[in-house]
């Protein structure tokens, strides 16, 4: 195959997949709203386009499936067959088959799918409705008289409306990443320059050249920030891309479980980094599956509880500072802390006495432990070996956190916090012993200077009283294991109050050096499986500094404390 052909095929796959993703929510909407010519037209067009291009590329099975689906949709659009559940199911199966076929081509695995079943179902749909008089389609009469084209008077108007079309350009992701990487380097150089400037400001202020250098550097500073933001924007896409899959998911699952569930989605325009789009899908799918399978009760049960028979799942996304917040909320039965404790004991995740001391909030968070699953019977839907721990791990990979709030019979809400960009973060620079570290500012709540004598000890655990609340205290060097057992002799410490999800604790260090905007570089060639290290960066004064992964630290310290 020529390179040109290969490129065209890979382009085709990307576009066909995108087009199928757009189709899914339309189907669900159709099912709710009933006959809608515009929606049918759009789905029809997707099938039609895919078929057309696939024909050129010699992808016969795709042509066949798309043709079958197209045929049905056309007949529905023309009012020849009714919009029935059977018709929808068959067409959706066709869409799934197309996805599968595209996947095989993409992965070049040479696998062939048996499309005869899908085609047979198409035929059944056509046959069953053949000859039947279609009655319940309100727009049918329109169909007979309204041709597909617009009346000529409207054509002119349309042309005027469409003058300002967005110009887009497809660019290889690697090229954008290269620009982002280089921009990161520029940010680092800028930081160094600013550092040098602040030195000069103190020591060489009477030189007339210095002032113009100041101006130039501060100009560069502004441009760098703007440029950086622009590059980050290039990688951002609306989260709709992910959310679009959910109506179909909820439809399929709820109907197979005999549950009646409404899905409401908001904030789908919120833009997030491309890598977030890629990695947030699976965790969200898992949370939603759980909500449908375990959260929302059967209609019967809901009625007995005096709730509406129809359950609701709402998904929303919004930006909060430099974080993206995604919430998945259901109005189901809520998580049962005592049941969770019981399960955790059975699975030997916690001990009996631990469970007794444990607060309900802490117990609920046990669902994030590896090997935990409360489903009585592992159903096909959610109990497939991947649990909430995978959800948490995936979110942590995005540098984010996940929290759960629940109330019996009111429902459960999962809140995902994800940083806007993965590459650059605000960090608090600290010194512990002779080493310097960067702590992502997103997890820092406050900093204090404390006298050593103010740090108490409760049951062998150091604690600090901050405005009447006790927080566990950990020495950074000890946690990282680089303290050489030497304890600083200073009589004061700097405490950093870390807040991650619902967990709060203090990390003590020798010195706070201030805030810096740092660019995270992956450490290559070194074993970075260390759970505490997110990556490395070069600071304004040219030092290479390790960036601490607070999520990792949190897991570690709390697994030993059990608090």
């Amino acid at each position: 195959m020529s390179d040109e052909m290969e490129e065209i095929i890979s382009e085709f796959i990307t576009e066909a997949e995108e087009s199928l993703d757009k189709v899914d929510p339309l189907f669900v909407e159709l099912e709710i709203k009933g006959f809608d010519k515009d929606m049918l037209n759009e789905i029809f067009r997707s099938m039609h386009t895919i078929k057309g291009a696939a024909g050129f590329l010699g992808l016969q099975s795709i042509v066949d499936v798309a043709h079958g689906a197209e045929n049905i949709l056309k007949k529905v659009r023309e009012g020849e067959i009714a919009l029935t559940k059977q018709m929808m199911d068959a067409t959706l199966k066709g869409v799934d088959m197309l996805r599968l076929l595209l996947k095989h081509i993409k992965q070049k695995d040479g696998k062939e799918e048996d499309i005869s079943q899908v085609l047979k179902e198409f035929e059944m749909v056509l046959k069953q409705t053949e000859g039947n008089i279609v009655e319940h389609i309100p727009a049918q009469e329109d169909n007979l008289t309204a041709p597909q084209n617009l009346p000529e008077a409207e054509v002119e108007k349309h042309v005027v409306d469409k003058k300002e079309t967005f110009q887009t350009l497809r660019v290889d992701m690697n090229k954008i990443d290269k620009v982002l990487d280089l921009t990161g380097e520029v940010v680092l150089v800028r930081n160094r320059l600013l550092n040098i400037m602040s030195y000069l400001e103190k020591n060489a202020f009477d030189d007339p050249h210095i002032e113009s250098l100041f101006e130039t550097v501060s100009f560069l500073d502004r441009i760098t920030s703007d440029m950086h933001l622009s590059v980050i924007r290039m990688r951002m896409q609306p989260i709709q891309k992910v959310f679009n899959k959910f109506p179909r998911l909820v439809r399929d699952l709820s109907s197979s479980l005999g549950k009646d569930i409404t899905l409401s989605i908001s904030g789908e325009d919120t833009e997030v980094d491309k890598s977030v789009i890629e990695h947030i899908g699976d965790p969200l799918v898992h949370i939603i599956r759980n909500a449908i399978d375990h959260g929302i009760e059967l209609p019967e049960e809901r009625r007995k509880k005096g709730k509406s028979e129809k359950g609701t799942i709402s998904i929303s996304a919004f930006q909060k500072g430099n974080q993206i917040v995604i919430e998945v909320k259901d109005d189901g039965r809520g998580l049962d802390a005592s049941l969770i404790k019981k399960k955790a004991i059975e699975k030997k995740l916690i001990k009996e006495d631990e469970a007794q001391r444990m607060s309900d909030d802490t117990a609920i968070n046990l669902i994030f432990l590896p090997g935990f699953s409360t489903a009585e019977v592992a159903t096909e839907i959610s109990g497939r070996g991947v649990g909430m721990d995978v959800v948490r791990t995936n979110i942590a990979k995005l540098n984010g956190s996940v929290e759960v709030r629940t109330k019996k019979d009111i429902g459960t809400t999962f809140v995902l916090n994800i940083p806007l960009t993965l590459a650059i973060i605000q960090a608090l620079m600290v010194r512990a012993g002779e080493c310097y570290f960067a702590i992502p500012l997103s997890s820092v709540e406050e900093t204090f200077k404390v006298l050593r004598k103010d740090i108490d000890s409760v049951m062998e655990q150091s604690v600090l009283n901050i405005r009447g609340r006790l927080y566990p205290v950990f020495e950074l060097s000890n946690v990282l294991g680089n303290g050489n057992g030497k304890v600083s002799e200073l009589d004061y410490r700097y405490a950093v109050l870390i807040s991650l999800g619902e967990k709060k604790f203090c990390i003590t260090v020798d010195e706070l050096l201030g805030l810096e905007e740092i660019f995270i570089k992956a450490i290559k060639g070194v074993d970075t499986d260390l759970p505490f290290i997110l990556g490395a960066t070069i600071t304004g004064d040219g030092k290479v500094v390790l960036i601490i992964d607070m999520a990792g630290i949190t897991r570690n310290v709390f697994s030993t404390v059990g608090a």
Binding site: E4, I8, E11, F12, E15, A16, S19, E42, R45, H48, T49, K51, G52, A53, G55, F56, L57, E70, N71, K74, Q148, N149, L150, E152, V155, E156, H158, V159, D161, K162, K163, T165, R170
Partner: protein
Amino acid sequence: MFDCKMKILVVDDFPTMRRIVKNILKQLGFENIEEAEDGAQAYSKLKSGSFGFVVSDWNMPNMDGLSFLKAVRSDPQLKETPFLMVTAEAEKDKVIEAIKSGVNNYIVKPFTAETLKEKMEKIFEKIGK
């Protein structure tokens, strides 16, 4: 025969299709090719530049191929532009409508460079007469 330097407008809402058609045109020696993703965009492009030939898909959002064709034919400045409509097999019956609206010829997808060449030759032969 036709001039390989003439500007051609390829209209299709699916980028891959535009690329395929462009590719085929390149095989025939055409270099000066522009794209538009629907009838409306194509129409304003046609207005702003001297195109010698249009290859347009039928089924597109915003403004489909037939409406686009009608718009071109009713525009005194553009009405002479040679217009080739790309259709799917299923749309063959609609071709009559396109011919009534003044399309120069139609081509059923998928097509080869050879077929496209034939169609184009036919069109330009007729115009030349």
